[in-house]
């Protein structure tokens, strides 16, 4: 601790006005404030502040993702760690470049994006694609809107959407057969050109359903972090309990998906898959707990949240069952992101009309 303090204090002049690395000041500040909580004081009332800051907020999401990361490494091997490193590096560079150019501070948001991105990709994807995807996602999904807090879309999903449209064949055929046994693939580094096979959702289109036990345990093909339902629920509930993820969004997405699923199965039997099974398969749970609940890109009002969540659940169900795609979660959340400002606007108008009468 003293050593780090010493190194930081020694390096400080380099980044100050007139120093050789003046341009990289945001990097220095971010490092400094990462290791040592900032010492700034309040200037106005309230003179005391809650201990929660954005670093803690984002760390909680990372903690919530840990079970999924562990599951992903277990099932798909050390490749996952390489993907995470690449994703952090490429996303971090874009974030740093923008912070330097705009002379703003580096925000913590990319720590979450960088970890979430590999988890929603097929585990066998070439590493350069991971880099391109996350760079595109952070750049187009976030930075050009003005950075964390001002982005319209979930950056990780923008990156994935880009890859899905730019390299559809690779994205559809980079699945890795999950490992099993005590150590899974913990000691392996599976190379690309792995196994091309059907994920549970694409198999389901042909009437083949994976067993519920496999889905819960995660012993199926799929994006790296979305297969192990137990890990997702454990991490997701952690976020809901700590109030980082809003329970309304989670309940809304899953509830609307289930409700409409039951109704449609009754109305048009045959063309809709079993609802309980669909709830566990694919990216629905991961999306509902970790992606849809992103506070920046979801509506801020409670009314807006319910509508947004219902939209995501319904669209996912319809895409999965009626459209050519196996999985609809990505498009559904992006569509929800587009709708979020409008839904918020409507909810706010309603609120303000009621507020207008107050006094």
């Amino acid at each position: 601790m003293k050593l780090i303090r010493g190194v930081l204090d020694g390096a400080r002049p380099l980044f100050e006005e007139g120093g050789a690395l003046k341009l990289l000041k945001p990097v220095f500040e971010a490092t400094d404030n990462f290791f040592f909580a900032p010492g700034s004081r309040t200037h106005h009332a309230p003179h005391i502040r809650d201990p929660l800051d954005l670093k803690r907020f984002m760390s909680m999401v990372i903690v919530g993702l840990v079970p999924c990361v562990v599951a992903a490494v277990y099932f798909f091997g050390l490749r996952m760690l390489a993907m995470i490193v690449v994703s952090y590096a490429a996303g971090g560079i874009v974030e740093v470049v923008f912070a330097v150019v705009r002379r703003k501070q580096i925000n913590e948001g990319f720590l979450v994006t960088g970890l979430m991105f590999p988890l929603i990709l097929p585990p066998g994807l070439p590493l350069w694609m991971v880099a391109v995807g996350v760079a595109f996602g952070v750049l187009v999904g976030k930075e050009i809107f003005g950075g964390t807090g001002r982005n319209l879309f979930n950056p990780a999903l923008v990156g994935r959407c880009f890859l899905a449209l730019a390299y559809p064949s690779k994205m559809a055929a980079s699945w890795i057969t999950p490992g099993g046994g005590l150590f899974g693939r913990l000691g392996e580094y599976v190379n690309v050109d792995a196994i091309t096979s059907a994920t549970p959702l694409s198999a389901a289109k042909n009437g083949v359903f994976a067993s519920v036990g496999d889905l819960l345990w995660g012993n199926v093909l799929g994006s790296a972090g979305e297969t192990c339902v137990i890990a997702i629920i454990a991490g997701g509930l952690f976020l809901v309990v700590t109030r980082i993820a809003n329970w309304r969004t989670v309940v809304g997405v899953l509830g609307s998906f289930a409700l409409l699923g039951f109704v449609l199965r009754y109305v048009a039997p045959g063309s809709f898959g079993p609802v309980g099974w669909h709830l566990l398969a694919g990216g629905l749970l991961f999306g509902a707990f970790f992606m849809a609940t992103d506070p920046v890109t979801s509506p801020v009002t409670n009314g807006g949240k319910w509508a947004y969540a219902a939209l995501i659940g319904v669209v996912t169900l319809l895409i999965r069952n009626l459209a050519g795609y196996d999985e609809g979660m990505m498009f559904a959340i992006l569509l929800g992101n587009i709708a979020a400002p409008v839904l918020d606007e409507l909810a706010i108008r309603y609120r303000l009309r009621r507020l207008g009468a107050t006094r």
Partner: protein, 459 residues
């Protein structure tokens, strides 16, 4: 009563019920400015020998409320900037009040009630009244629609109602009777905490027969003691022609003193609390009491910040202020933030007190925390987490107004009811992006008043 939002910040250093009577000082420093008042009209001469209860200065903007000499002494007008200094203070027994012959602007028709109101004004009891919605001093000769009397202070830390009332329940009920005599048929809403204590049941018992007092109970959650919040909760909407008066137990006791004993308010009970205070308790002092004597030997850590009021809305006591002002009801002393915690954001946080549930402390009953003046994070853009909206007692959306003010959309900020903000400071407190929402809302209200309504005042 319908109340929403709110949150209790628990800081260490809650004042105990003990009351320490401070020794009589030699010199009093009476500040000419306090939160609401600016006593710009000095009405004594340099070197004049003052008797207790004499008006030293008046505030011409606020119905000429007087600044009252709490003790006899020699006035020094230029000894300290912004103060009237009272030297050679002696404790001469106070004389009962003798009203002067010419009583200015007592409207005819008010009769004896008008006389009483004049007495309240001259004896310094009127200063405890405020307009529930705006917080300003109401017209002493106006007619209120209702009166709110609150016995609760919930901000950490202000004078505790139970400490104040425990020995003076008789004075309190007599004060309420005097207050009722000032009114016609307007109701008095007495706000009591929703707790079962001996004192609370005693108050209820005593007031059982008073048909004109309607008792309302509030949960002990900050800022439900705020008069604007209470007025809205009681369904008393804002109407500039029919104001709602509000006062604390302190004010009722002052009324009793003025109208029963005809004596000026020359004693003051304040709380002294906060993490930097060694033995937090209540103090019996008087306006003008030297702050140095109060704080020396009672503060534990250095450096510290002294607040006039609580930690959420109090104002910093500037070094230039030497004595207690007449409006002060509590001093909160916070240690200044200095140490930079190693990997602070990653600590489990069993000792942190947070609105969120992101710290280990949420697994048990969270303890009071030793808060400092630290911002405890870096400024970031709003991430729309919605915490500010959840805690807001007014039901407005601080995050929305923040964005509207950022883009200078004043009309829209007004439509978002920025005017309903009661400035409790909870939004700034909980914000994980450390946005100074309270400041922005206050500034925004000022800008809107200036730019959109500049010509409307007095029109």
């Amino acid at each position: 009563m319908k109340l929403r939002g709110g949150y209790n910040v628990r800081i260490t250093g809650r004042p105990s019920g003990a009351v320490e009577v401070l020794p009589e000082p030699d010199t009093l420093y009476l500040p000419l400015r306090s939160r609401r008042f600016n006593f710009s009209e000095v009405c004594v001469e340099e070197g004049e020998r003052l008797s207790p209860g004499q008006a030293i200065a008046r505030d011409p903007q606020n119905y000429s409320v007087p600044l009252i000499a709490p003790r006899a002494g020699v006035a020094r007008l230029n000894a300290a900037e912004g103060h009237v200094v009272l030297e050679d203070v002696t404790k001469i027994p106070e004389e009962p009040y003798h009203p002067s012959e010419d009583i200015p602007h007592v409207p005819k028709g008010l009769g004896s009630a008008g006389m009483k109101r004049h007495k309240l004004l001259e004896l310094g009891a009127w200063q405890f009244f405020c307009d529930a919605h705006s917080g300003a001093l109401p017209d002493p000769f106006g007619t209120p629609r209702a009166v709110i009397v609150s016995t609760v202070h919930l901000e950490p830390f202000l004078l505790r109602g139970d400490v104040q009332l425990s020995k003076r329940l008789v004075s309190f009920t007599r004060g309420l009777e005097h207050l009722q005599a000032l009114l016609e048929y307007q109701p008095i809403h007495l706000i009591l905490p929703k707790v079962d204590s001996d004192l609370a049941s005693k108050v209820r018992e005593t007031l059982r027969g008073y048909a004109w007092v309607s008792i309302a109970h509030i949960p002990l959650r900050y800022p439900f003691d705020n008069f604007a919040v209470l007025a809205r909760g009681l369904g008393l909407k804002y109407d500039p022609d029919e104001p709602v008066w509000a006062l604390n137990a302190e004010g009722v006791l002052a009324i009793d003193r003025a109208l029963t004993l005809s004596r000026p308010c020359t004693v003051k009970l304040i709380s002294l609390g906060g993490p930097a205070i060694e033995d937090p308790k209540h103090l019996k002092a008087m306006p003008g009491y030297p702050l140095r004597i109060i704080l020396d030997s009672r503060t534990s850590s250095d450096p510290f910040r002294v607040l006039n009021g609580g930690g959420l809305t109090g104002e910093v006591v500037e070094p230039s202020q030497l004595g207690l002002d007449a409006e002060c009801s509590g001093l909160t002393v916070l240690p200044e933030h200095s140490d930079r915690e190693f990997l602070g954001f990653a600590r489990p946080g069993a000792d942190r007190r947070s609105y969120s549930r992101c710290f280990l402390s949420s697994l048990r009953v969270p303890p009071a925390e030793r808060f400092t003046t630290g911002v405890r994070g870096e400024h970031r853009p709003c991430i729309s987490c919605g915490f500010c909206e959840e805690v807001c007692p007014s039901g407005i959306m601080p995050h929305l107004i923040h964005k509207l003010l950022y883009e200078d959309a004043l009309e829209e900020a007004e439509r978002a009811r920025i005017d309903l903000c009661v400035e409790c400071g909870l939004c700034s407190f909980v914000c994980p992006s450390k946005i100074d929402l309270r400041r922005e809302l206050i500034d925004g209200k000022g800008t809107i008043q200036e730019e959109l309504h500049a010509g409307e005042v007095e029109a």
